[in-house]
């Protein structure tokens, strides 16, 4: 069973300085404390600058003695993050996890991973190849993906509602879903599709 009190303290702790750290965590749905949603701000001086990246966090029963399962919901162009499903290759989320780490430190590590990729130990081989052989193209692609997928909050709410309604979802449901995910279009779409 997940250590509920620890997770709750972690949430409080993490969200206390979300403005400064650029990372925040919230419950994915109100009830289940083992399913969380993290957001990290794209680090400055990187192709991800200005983007807000959403990460799906699932806490295993053994947390904090087992690492949390993290996955990018927002599509990212990065050597260590799958461009297909958002899977992350980061040692501290695998064998180098320590119970002394927290969700916040893990998210901060992801933020650091965005600013300094490790192409020698790739998750996405195509991106890693591009990073090593043609960095300018990589940077441009990454920047484009950031614009396209990580900055959905910058577009107007009405546009997003319009977009989703055009997909065939009822408008009131779209509005409430968008509100529940703080206007994140991708999150809302995922939520609408899943439920």
């Amino acid at each position: 069973m997940v250590d509920v009190s620890r997770v709750q303290k972690e949430l409080t702790e993490c969200n206390r300085d979300r403005e400064v750290s650029g990372v925040s965590i919230a419950l994915h749905d109100g009830a289940n404390i083992s399913h969380l949603t993290g957001t990290i701000a794209g680090p400055a001086d990187s192709p991800y600058e200005g983007g807000t990246f959403v990460i799906d966090i699932r806490l295993p029963g053994g947390y904090p003695f087992e690492p949390p399962k993290m996955q990018f919901v927002t599509k990212v162009w990065h050597p260590n993050i799958s461009s297909q499903n958002g899977a992350i290759c980061l040692d501290i989320l695998k064998d180098q996890w320590s119970p002394a780490l927290t969700l916040k430190t893990a998210l901060l590590s992801l933020q650091a991973l965005l600013s300094s990729p490790a192409p020698d130990d790739p998750q996405d081989a195509v991106v890693a190849q591009q990073y090593l052989r043609d960095y300018p193209t990589f940077a441009a692609t990454a920047r484009y993906w950031t614009e396209a997928f990580a900055k959905s909050t910058s577009t107007g709410m009405e546009e997003k509602v319009q977009k989703l309604v055009e997909m065939g979802f009822p408008e009131d449901l779209v509005r409430s879903t968008l509100k529940s995910v703080d206007g994140d279009e991708n999150m809302a779409l995922e939520k609408l599709c899943s439920g």
Binding site: D3, R6, F65, S98, P99
Partner: protein, 357 residues
């Protein structure tokens, strides 16, 4: 004096009844004599209304019985109060308040047997005990009316304390008596030695007595106030009191001083793994040479899993084996290679167990 004399037989009977309910009070006599001495000292220092006060105070039975009608018999307390007021000539408003609180105290005393008078042969003890116990308690008229006001408040304090643990009444009571005694000793000491210039011994006016008298009693409740000048002298000496039971001494030192100071100086650290506060055992538990703190529960969980220190990610087994290099390791080296495979496990167990106990 006529009032108290008339009242004493009735109260004595009531006290005899109440005796059955009361536990063993061996210390009461001792306290009584102490209190007698103190009272007389104080009264002579006070010197006001010379004869009448002394007469009221010196015959123990009469003096302390004066308080008991309120407690144990339905006699109206007011006549006595008025006599008091007349004899002291102090503020009638104060008196009114004292009467009210006195009644309140009396009624609650009827409910709880522990507050009722001690016995027929130690009527004075009953009064004196209450005095020692609560800093004057239900026998307000026996030493001075001026202390009634403050003392009745401390009675309610004491009752709150007692209400918390009703099953060991007698113990608590003993402790309180001892504590009050100690405080009383200290206070009177302080008054005589360190504050001789205060208007306390002013012979003609009751107001200075009012001002000075409650102070020693109140100092019990605000013992930790930073502006309390009596604090350094009186507080440490509580634990040194010869007559003080060791248990209450420890309790005082542990709960009052220790916890308070520790709480201020060093807040308990939380375990970085489970975020629960580390207890003293956990705080001194450092299973890894990197000094990483964690609680025993989390350490056990980690040992059941991969057994690596959360701080440095090194195996607890190897690090503790290297750390605890003393005797067992030497023998391992001596016994040869084949033992080296088994030894670390054994070592780690002994090492990890070591700091716990």
């Amino acid at each position: 004096m006529g009032h108290s004399d008339a009242a004493s037989p009735a109260s004595a009977a009531a006290a005899r009844d109440a005796k059955k309910k009361r536990g063993n009070r061996t210390a009461a006599k001792l306290k009584q004599s102490k209190l007698e001495t103190r009272r007389e000292q104080w009264l002579s220092g006070q010197g006001k209304d010379g004869k009448e006060t002394k007469v009221a105070a010196s015959p123990t039975g009469a003096g302390s019985n004066a308080g008991s009608p309120i407690l144990a018999s339905p006699h109206p307390p007011l006549p006595r109060r008025r006599a008091d007021t007349r004899s002291r000539g102090s503020d009638p408003d104060d008196r009114e308040e004292a009467g009210a609180t006195g009644l309140e105290v009396g009624s609650s005393d009827l409910d709880s047997p522990m507050h009722s008078p001690g016995s027929d042969k130690s009527q004075g003890n009953g009064g004196a005990r209450r005095k020692g116990f609560s800093g004057n308690g239900g026998g307000p008229s026996l030493s001075s009316g001026s202390s009634v006001w403050s003392s009745s408040r401390s009675v309610s304090d004491a009752e709150e304390e007692d209400a918390g643990c009703p099953e060991d009444d007698s113990e608590v009571l003993d402790d309180w008596e001892a504590a009050a005694d100690a405080l009383y000793d200290d206070d009177s000491h302080c008054h005589q030695s360190s504050v001789p210039t205060t208007p306390t011994p002013a012979p003609t006016n009751a107001a200075p007595a009012n001002a000075a008298r409650p102070e020693p009693i109140r100092s019990k409740t605000r013992a930790w106030a930073p502006d309390d000048i009596f604090r350094p002298q009186s507080l440490p000496s509580i634990t040194k009191q010869a007559s003080f039971p060791a248990s209450i001494g420890n309790c005082w030192a542990g709960m009052g001083m220790g916890a308070a100071q520790q709480g201020i100086l060093s807040l308990p650290l939380p375990c970085p793994i489970c975020y629960e506060d580390l207890d003293p055992t956990d705080s001194s538990f450092r299973p890894c040479p990197c000094g990483f703190h964690l609680c025993l529960f989390c350490h056990k969980k980690i040992l059941e899993a991969d057994g690596r220190c959360p701080g440095c990610r090194k195996q607890y087994n190897t690090v503790s084996a290297a750390e605890g290099g003393g005797g067992p390791k030497a023998t391992t080296v001596g016994t040869g290679q084949e033992m080296a495979n088994i030894a670390p496990v054994r070592l780690s167990r002994s090492c990890s167990m070591g700091p716990r106990y």
